[in-house]
Symmetry: C2
């Protein structure tokens, strides 16, 4: 019986128990962005640590940081074999608007072989797959084909502010041959992908203040600047009507797409009609001159994530608002530098600041974009493992999302990163009704187990 | 002893009791815009009705409407004398942001001879002055020099949706020679004003929808329209950088200011530096080519009163928002028509709608602008009453605010309207820490009492 057949039997037999354990993990509301969930963050970290210990993982610790803790563990008894450092995150996104969830975000529910819960796909469900793959290898083979280390953080959804320092401080402990991250997606249902690049992230909050307090729009209206109107003018100034970002210098350090890459993307025959159907829009909108895949994989963005100011309750309030604010984030591509982009944003805002208001800019955490050579043996081996289980060719893609820590790992540890994800883009990450297709939970466990054997044959 | 001396004695002697009664009225949180305050609206109406009855006012009723009730009362025993219809409103504005109030909005507090409470100035405090003036005349003279009727509504702050029908239905009952309204302000501290014109009001809510739900800004960002960004572009399109409104046809029916009016405004020597200090801005901002008084008295506006969309909590959420909305109101001047302006706004929004979103427009209630001939004897008499008490010349002004019902009274009842207000523009109407200068409460009572005698001599 091949190792894959043995794994298959084990996962089939234990599926019900595995899902019950995952539900335990998903029930912990570990929202890193909201300070009232600080205790839940610790609960989630402890749950992970306890689970690692139960799997024969050694030197397990819940390590304090300036923010939420990091969970570490290791098993290093495969002498002479490569070492994989597994990374993931146990924190999740906020859940508002709560009224749009069909079942509560922290009460996991299976419908149509999909597991609905905040974090089911991003990223608790995928972190949990690492653990169950280890459990299955020990159970079916009594040992592991490679050495493994685990590092799970609780701040990915807020830009991983503490992990770079932790990584720097624990360089020796984290030494490995490659990093495996499961926080990306398949190319499409039934079509696996290894992701060789990610966008970076940077962002600012813009706070606009006019008068020292809200004013009566009858008495003062027409003679004193309106903070919301001033903010809207700043926001509108960021783009032209074709979606091209107007911040001076914004595109200067963008690495142009090669004709080869553009052709590879075209060959994927991306279905724009299906996308429109999926997200519910009549027409797509993005930077002129680029295809949808290019826009979302290889071009930078500037998005307004939130806006607030004045009266937003029921009915009308004829107020001339004194304050307004917006949260902006940019997805960055190689070789844009997050610090430099923030400087350009600040200069743009200063230049476009309307009369009669003061503007304050606060910076959010930053993450660099990242690109891995796609012919690296660890990348190619991942493609093979997918093909064995999914039985179709693997797509080599780039991801539009950001995993800021990937660039930090690259810089600090100097390791290749293999992004082996099992999500689907329709799974509502960061939105109401997040879910995870259980067929990819099932197949992904087998892919990960096979990959351990693939890596065992690589000479680093 | 003159009637003014007698009133003076009475008001001095009863001041403490009067303020205690006013505080009772102010403690009722009669916020018309919020449906959870429906019961409080009825309490405030009943309080007023009971108070009118206690003053010998006859035929007092709390009349149901489609919205909040109207309070009516009358005293018609001054045979052969003119009849004044007093109007005011017992509803108040919402109180958010609550944390900016130094003392709670519905717990009246006196500091520095100013009465702090929501409604202290706009308009419960001034409505209460009508009542106490009547009480004082009965107490000191045993009768009233003119006939009086009272009509107090509970929907002024939401655009008086029910009062035009009520007025139409009760035309006979409301017949009078003039209408007196105390809901405007002095020109400045110590400098009284009779207001001969008011701006009208119209407004819309703009709701923008992109995708059917919020999306992950990494996965979709750059290829799907952002609802907030689209909204910001619509809002920015409403004005140019000089504050001139860009809605086609918006200014077409504006009655131009005469050179005489512009000169009269210049003669008031409006202190722009003091205004900047008062509202806390370094520079004013309004339509190019007009002075501040012209901008706020005689020119129309387009203000964003509120904006909302996406994530506005603590930290960042990298969401591509599917929905965003804004509340817009316009202050209108003669001869702009609210219905026509809404049509122009709709056409503008339709024309400036960005790609990839749907826009829904909802209309708010409307009020026409109004102008009274300023040489009308009832206007001039009001000026004289102010001068007797304040001992300085009265300014004849226009008001930037809207009392939509004024235009409706004009249309339905065909009566001159005398706007005799006692507020000050620094009193934070519609904002936190609304207050009323008690010196104007005291002097205003005497002005109103004297005006009853002035009106008794006018032949209508």
């Amino acid at each position: 019986m091949s190792h894959l057949e043995k794994l298959d039997g084990y996962f089939t037999e234990n599926r019900e128990r595995h899902l019950a354990e995952l539900n335990e993990f998903l029930r912990i509301p570990s929202i890193s962005a909201l300070s009232e969930h600080k205790a839940d963050m610790l609960s989630a970290a402890n749950w992970l640590a306890d689970h690692l210990k139960s799997l024969n993982i050694e030197n397990v610790s819940v390590d304090e940081t300036a923010g939420h803790p990091v969970v570490y563990g290791e098993w290093l008894h495969a002498e002479g074999k490569p070492t994989i450092l597994f990374y993931g995150h146990y924190d999740v996104q906020p859940v508002d608007p709560l009224n749009l969830w069909e079942t509560p975000p922290f009460e996991p529910a299976i419908r149509d072989n999909k597991l609905f819960a905040r974090g089911s796909s991003d990223d608790k469900g995928q972190v949990f797959m690492h653990l169950k793959m280890i459990e299955a290898l020990f159970a079916t083979e009594g040992t592991l084909p490679v050495n493994v280390k685990f590092i799970y953080e609780g701040e990915e959804e807020i830009g991983s502010p503490s992990l770079p320092k932790y990584t720097e401080d624990n360089k020796e402990k984290l030494a490995a041959d490659l990093i495996v991250i499961s926080d990306t997606g398949l190319y499409a249902k039934g079509k696996p992908a290894v992701c060789y690049g990610l966008r970076g992230l940077t962002g600012v909050q813009i706070d606009v203040r006019g008068a020292k307090g809200d004013l009566h729009s009858g008495l003062y209206g027409g003679g004193v600047q309106n903070a919301i109107h001033a903010l809207a003018e700043i926001l509108a100034s960021f783009r032209d009507e074709h979606g091209t970002i107007q911040v001076e210098g914004f595109y200067d350090s963008v690495r142009p797409l090669s004709e080869e890459e553009r052709q590879a993307y075209r060959d994927l025959n991306f279905d724009e009609e299906a996308l429109k159907e999926e997200v519910g829009v009549k027409e797509l909108f993005g930077e002129a001159g680029y295809s949808y895949l290019e826009q979302t994989w290889a071009r930078p963005t500037l998005e307004v994530n939130g806006v607030f100011g004045g009266f937003s309750g029921e009915g009308i309030k004829t107020v001339l608002p004194a304050e307004a604010g917006a949260k902006i984030t940019c997805r960055l591509v190689p070789d844009q530098d997050p610090e430099e982009i923030v400087s350009l944003l600040k200069a743009h805002i200063e230049k476009h600041k309307p009369t009669g208001v003061e503007v304050t800019i606060s910076e959010f955490d930053k993450g660099k974009p990242y690109l891995t050579p796609f012919d690296h043996p660890a990348i190619q081996a991942a493609g093979r493992s997918y093909e064995k289980v999914y039985e179709v060719p693997t797509a080599y893609t780039r991801g539009g999302g950001s995993i800021p820590i990937v660039a930090a790992f690259d810089e600090i540890l100097g390791l290749p990163v293999v992004l082996m994800g099992f999500g689907l883009s329709s799974e509502n990450f960061h939105a109401p009704n997040e879910h995870f297709h259980l067929e990819n939970f099932d197949q992904g466990l087998r892919v990960l187990g096979d990959y351990m054997h693939e890596v065992a044959t690589i000479k680093f």
